[in-house]
Structures are given as structure tokens and as C-alpha cells.
């Protein structure tokens, strides 16, 4: 009994850490969906490139970790904006299907270019700082896990302030509401969308760097599953909703560790999709999303 509770508590910590990285990824999906009503399929690849950039900055350029993290976020933000410019912007007026296919194409392209450039082997990503393990209330954790939670928390807080307090945030919300009216009100829609991609991509990069260290592994196909799960988290929370993405990420992380505890680890990846199907069935607007009706 005692042992069971202890194991459970330990799992919850894992779920919280993993969930916070899902939340960071989910934020990018939800923000882009908010302004463009587009599932940015390349988002998982952006996360992967973020991890590689962070790894290279730490190991090749020997930058101190905080600087490497910020720079990786900036470089990845640039990639996100470039992807939007090349693959999505020319298709603003095209059918939804065309944009989705373009997004899928971009995702495959980036992933396979990474495979080409960096090779298929897994690279180790040792944290460039000492990692201490310690015990709190009988539960074991370490500085890396706590740092991951801390980074996620800071990012989310920053994003919240950005969206609610700044002019750019207001512009993003206006574009999400109604692109045409926003344009009429003098908002530079293209720039706002580009910023949205930049912010979403940099959050994904942060998640990529942290996960790269948590698992001590960086590899070109690492973005596929977390990308999908980030999307599931966004849908679970209510796509388009920023608090929803945070909640969805944490809930998904928890659900996964519980599911693994109950079933077995081989089914880990199937759990997320089962959740997705259930949400779509019973609550398509997500946990925090509003029920909306398509404007006709």
C-alpha cells in the first residue's frame, strides 16, 4: 500500500514534467490555430530543430546554457517564420485542404532534411550543468526536472502577459477573432501572424532543448510523437485557447503515466490517440474551449 502510493507519487512527478513539455508544444499549435485555423503539422519538426540547435550551441559553440537556450529559441523562431512565409502565406486564400497538405509536406521536408544533414543516429545531450538528485517527501526528483518545470512555467507566464498586456497580444487576439476586420482596424495581419509563428516556435524549441536533456537523446524523428501529442493536448484543452493548451498538456502527461502504470509502456503512444478520439467524440470543444458555431 505504502509502496503503491509512493510509486504513484513518483509517476505524478514524471507526468508533470512530461506534461509541461507537451503544454509548451501545445501552445504553438493553439496559437497558430487561433490566428490561421491551421494545424501546423511542421510544429513537431520545429521542436526537433530546436533541440538540435540547443545541442549544437551547447556542445559545439560551448555557450553557457541560458544563452544557448535563448539563442536556440531565437533561431527556431526564425525557422517557424520562414515556414509560414514559404508554405502557408501563399495559400491564405486557398482551400483548407491545400494548406493542410502543404503543412504535411513541410513537416516531411524538414524532418528528412534533418535526417540528411544530421544523420539518423541518436545524439547524446548531457546537461552542461551538474544535476543533483534529491528527495522531497520521499519522492525523488532532480534539478533537471525542476528546471524543466521552471522553464515551462516562466514561458507560460511570459506568454500570458504578452497576450493579455501588450499591443502585439491584442493584435493577435484581434486577428484570431476576425482577420478581415483586424486588417480594417489597421492591424498588420501578416506581421501579427509571423509573430505568432515566432513565439509558438520558440516555445517548442524550449521544450525540445529540455526534453533533449531529460532523455539525453536528440534525433531527427524525435518531433513526430511529441508533435502529435502536443496537438492532442491542444485539442484536449480546447484548440485556440492558451490556458487550455497548458491544462491539456498537463492532463495528457498525467494520463499517459497513469495509463502506462495500468497497462504497459508499449501502449504509451496509443493512449494519447485514444484520448484524442474520446475528446472529439464527447467534447470536441475541449476542456476549456467555448462551443462555437461556424460563421456562415
Amino acid at each position: 500500500m505504502e509502496r503503491g502510493a509512493h510509486l504513484f507519487g513518483q509517476q505524478l512527478i514524471n507526468g508533470l514534467v512530461t506534461g509541461s513539455t507537451y503544454a509548451l508544444i501545445a501552445l504553438g499549435y493553439t496559437m497558430v490555430y487561433g490566428v490561421l485555423q491551421l494545424i501546423n503539422f511542421a510544429h513537431g519538426e520545429i521542436y526537433m530543430v530546436g533541440a538540435f540547435t540547443g545541442l549544437l550551441l551547447v556542445t559545439q559553440a560551448n555557450l553557457p546554457f541560458p544563452l544557448a537556450l535563448l539563442l536556440a529559441m531565437a533561431i527556431t523562431a526564425l525557422l517557424g517564420v520562414t515556414i509560414e512565409f514559404i508554405a502557408y502565406r501563399p495559400l491564405r486564400r486557398s482551400s483548407r485542404l491545400s494548406v493542410l497538405i502543404s503543412a504535411i509536406g513541410m513537416s516531411i521536408f524538414v524532418q528528412n532534411v534533418a535526417l540528411w544533414v544530421w544523420g539518423p543516429q541518436t545524439r547524446r545531450f548531457l546537461p552542461p550543468f551538474p544535476v543533483h538528485t534529491f528527495t522531497v517527501a520521499g519522492l525523488r526528483t532532480n534539478t533537471l526536472e525542476l528546471l524543466t518545470l521552471f522553464v515551462a512555467l516562466v514561458m507560460m507566464l511570459g506568454l500570458h502577459l504578452l497576450v493579455t498586456r501588450t499591443k502585439l497580444g491584442k493584435a493577435m487576439r484581434a486577428v484570431a477573432q476576425d482577420r478581415e476586420t483586424a486588417a480594417l482596424m489597421g492591424i498588420n495581419v501578416n506581421r501579427t501572424i509571423a509573430f505568432t509563428f515566432a513565439i509558438g516556435s520558440s516555445l517548442a524549441a524550449a521544450a525540445g532543448v529540455m526534453v533533449g536533456m531529460l532523455f539525453n537523446a536528440v534525433v531527427p524523428n524525435m518531433g513526430v510523437m511529441p508533435g502529435l501529442k502536443g496537438f492532442v493536448a491542444a485539442v484536449l484543452g480546447g484548440i485556440g485557447s492558451i490556458p487550455g493548451a497548458m491544462v491539456g498538456g498537463l492532463v495528457l502527461g498525467m494520463a499517459e503515466v497513469l495509463g502506462v502504470a495500468l497497462l504497459s509502456s508499449q501502449w504509451r503512444d496509443a493512449i494519447a490517440f485514444a484520448i484524442l478520439i474520446l475528446v472529439l467524440l464527447y467534447r470536441p470543444s475541449g476542456l476549456l474551449g467555448r462551443r462555437t458555431q461556424e460563421k456562415v
Binding site: 486564400r93 504535411i104 485539442v235 503512444d269 478520439i277 460563421k295
Partner: protein, 325 residues
């Protein structure tokens, strides 16, 4: 089956090309059926390989464990996949199209993970010992059958309704089309043919492994459809043929490129959507970025400014209707 025709074909096709042709035929069936869902009905479907897997494993298990005959197993494979199509389609197709993309992707992964973890399928070791009963004449017949059925379908009351759904789902509903039901039907028909293709695959390669039906296979199929043209059946035939044969050809000529073909497939999807959304073959139907740009340039010239025509915003952008605001 059809041994005389097979003997005839084998007498002038060398074994290597014989195998390539069988693979091309199977891919044509897959591309044609995917085109029904994505090209004609306008629903992005990223899990077609899973239906193929269900068909392949159904046939493989029936052949190895139950001793079922070839034709019965092929039919059962199609039906199994169709049932899976209904089960996946019903919940997801009620929702907006983008969810379908993710849901089908997720479904594909669930199928693959399940096949990997079941005992009866041999898990990661795969399923062995399926007799080789697929041959080229059978594949050719299956391709012709698929093509004729789908061509007839898209040129009917039902096919028009599917295209209407692709063009404008709200307007289609308002014209009396039960959009959910028709989308599920389209999905189910596609799954059926994918299941058949899977069975032919099983009886040809004689060995099944979950990794043959991963997400990237679904993407390659999508690339074939997009390359040949969304909503263009003949295009899918050409797309599947070219994109199956080209890597084979490159494998001997330029193996590095053949290995990296997914880089080009990815780029191809983006480029085709931007420049020629209707595929490289056939007439351009949806206005591409290039067309719009050219049209804008033309309309800027004074001679044609009077034509207030064509300047209608596409319905997909939603328009600035009298919303509740």
C-alpha cells in the same frame, strides 16, 4: 489463378520488372481509393496505410491460421478494412476536416502499435508463411475493377454530392446532402479498396511486418495522389506508377537520391499546393497562387478593369457575412 495469363506475361517480362509492376498495381489501388476521400470528398486522410495493414493482416492470418482460400480472404480483407473505416469515420467525420487529418493519423499509429503488440500477428517479428498467390494478372484485374467502380461512383448522384462537400460543406448540407453519411460512405469505400490492396500485398510479399504500414507509407500515398492531381483518377494511376517506379530506377542510378526521396516528396507537396494545387497533370481547377498572381496583374491593366467578374472571395475564407457581431 489466371495461370495461363500469368504464364504469358512472365514469358516476356523479366522477374524484376514483374515485381515492380505488381507493386505499382497495388499502389495504384491505394492511390485511387485515397483520392476518393482526399481528392473528391476533400477530407485529408493520413492513415490510409492502416486500412491496407488491416487488409493485409486479415488476409495473412486467414491464410496462415485458418487456411482460407485466396478470393475469400481478399474479400474478407476488404470488408474488415471497410468496417474499420466506418468505426473510425463515424466519430471523426462529423467534425471539421482538420480533425480528421489528425484522427486518421492517430488511428494509423494505433493500428501499427496494436499489430506490434499482439501475439497472433507475430508482433515485431512479423507474420510469415503466407502463400504467394498474388500474380500480375490478378493485380491488373483488381486495378481495372477499382478504377471502373470509382469512376462510375464519382460520375453519379453520390459522386456529385461528394465533390459538393469538398467545394463547400455548408452549401452542400443546405442543398439536401447528408454530409456526414456521405463522408463516411466515401471513407468506407476507400478503406475497402485499401484492404483489398493490403491482401494482394500480403499474398505477394508473403511476409508482413508492422513497419511496412507506418505513417510515411500514408504520406507516400498522399504524395502520389497530389502529384497526379486531387480529384483526378487517371492522375492517381500515373502518380502511383511514376512514384513507385522512379525510386526503383534511382536505386540503381543514384541510390543517394532514392534513399532521400522523402525530402523531395515533402518539397513536392508544398510546391504543388502553391503552384498547381490540382496536380501536375490534368487541367488546373483550383486557382493556384500563380494563377491568382497572373490574374491580378492582368486586372491591373486598364483594358480589363471593367470586368467586375471573378473578383468574388472564395467561400473557404468565410466571407464577411452578417455574423452575430
Amino acid at each position: 489463378m489466371l495461370d495461363w495469363a500469368d504464364g504469358l506475361l512472365r514469358s516476356f517480362i523479366n522477374p524484376y520488372y514483374y515485381g515492380v509492376l505488381v507493386t505499382i498495381g497495388i499502389n495504384i489501388i491505394l492511390a485511387l481509393s485515397l483520392n476518393l476521400v482526399t481528392g473528391f470528398t476533400g477530407q485529408l486522410h493520413l492513415g490510409h496505410a492502416a486500412f491496407m495493414a488491416i487488409g493485409a493482416y486479415t488476409a495473412g492470418l486467414l491464410a496462415t491460421k485458418a487456411g482460407t482460400g485466396f478470393w475469400a480472404a481478399v474479400l474478407a480483407a476488404g470488408l474488415m478494412a471497410a468496417v474499420a473505416g466506418v468505426i473510425v469515420g463515424l466519430p471523426t467525420l462529423r467534425l471539421r476536416g482538420d480533425y480528421l487529418a489528425i484522427a486518421t493519423l492517430g488511428f494509423g499509429e494505433i493500428v501499427r502499435i496494436t499489430l506490434l503488440n499482439l501475439d497472433i500477428t507475430g508482433g515485431p517479428f512479423g507474420l510469415r508463411g503466407i502463400p504467394r498467390q498474388t500474380n500480375l494478372p490478378i493485380v491488373i484485374l483488381a486495378v481495372i475493377f477499382t478504377f471502373l467502380v470509382l469512376r462510375s461512383l464519382v460520375n453519379s448522384r453520390m459522386g456529385r454530392a461528394l465533390i459538393a462537400i469538398r467545394e463547400d460543406e455548408v452549401a452542400a448540407q443546405t442543398m439536401g446532402i447528408d454530409t456526414t453519411r456521405l463522408k463516411v460512405t466515401s471513407f468506407t469505400v476507400a478503406a475497402f479498396f485499401a484492404g483489398i490492396a493490403g491482401a494482394l500485398f500480403a499474398y505477394w510479399f508473403r511476409y508482413l511486418n508492422p513497419s511496412s504500414f507506418g505513417f510515411m507509407v500514408s504520406i507516400e500515398l498522399l504524395a502520389m495522389v497530389v502529384f497526379g492531381g486531387l480529384g483526378n483518377l487517371l492522375g492517381s494511376v500515373v502518380g502511383a506508377s511514376v512514384m513507385t517506379y522512379l525510386p526503383e530506377l534511382l536505386r540503381t542510378v543514384a541510390p543517394a537520391i532514392a534513399e532521400r526521396r522523402l525530402v523531395f516528396y515533402g518539397a513536392l507537396l508544398v510546391i504543388i499546393m502553391i503552384l498547381r494545387p490540382n496536380g501536375l497533370l490534368g487541367t488546373s481547377s483550383e486557382q493556384g497562387w500563380l494563377e491568382i498572381w497572373l490574374a491580378r496583374r492582368r486586372s491591373r491593366s486598364p483594358a480589363t478593369t471593367s470586368a467586375a467578374s471573378g473578383q468574388v472571395p472564395p467561400a473557404s475564407t468565410g466571407g464577411a457575412g452578417h455574423g452575430p457581431a
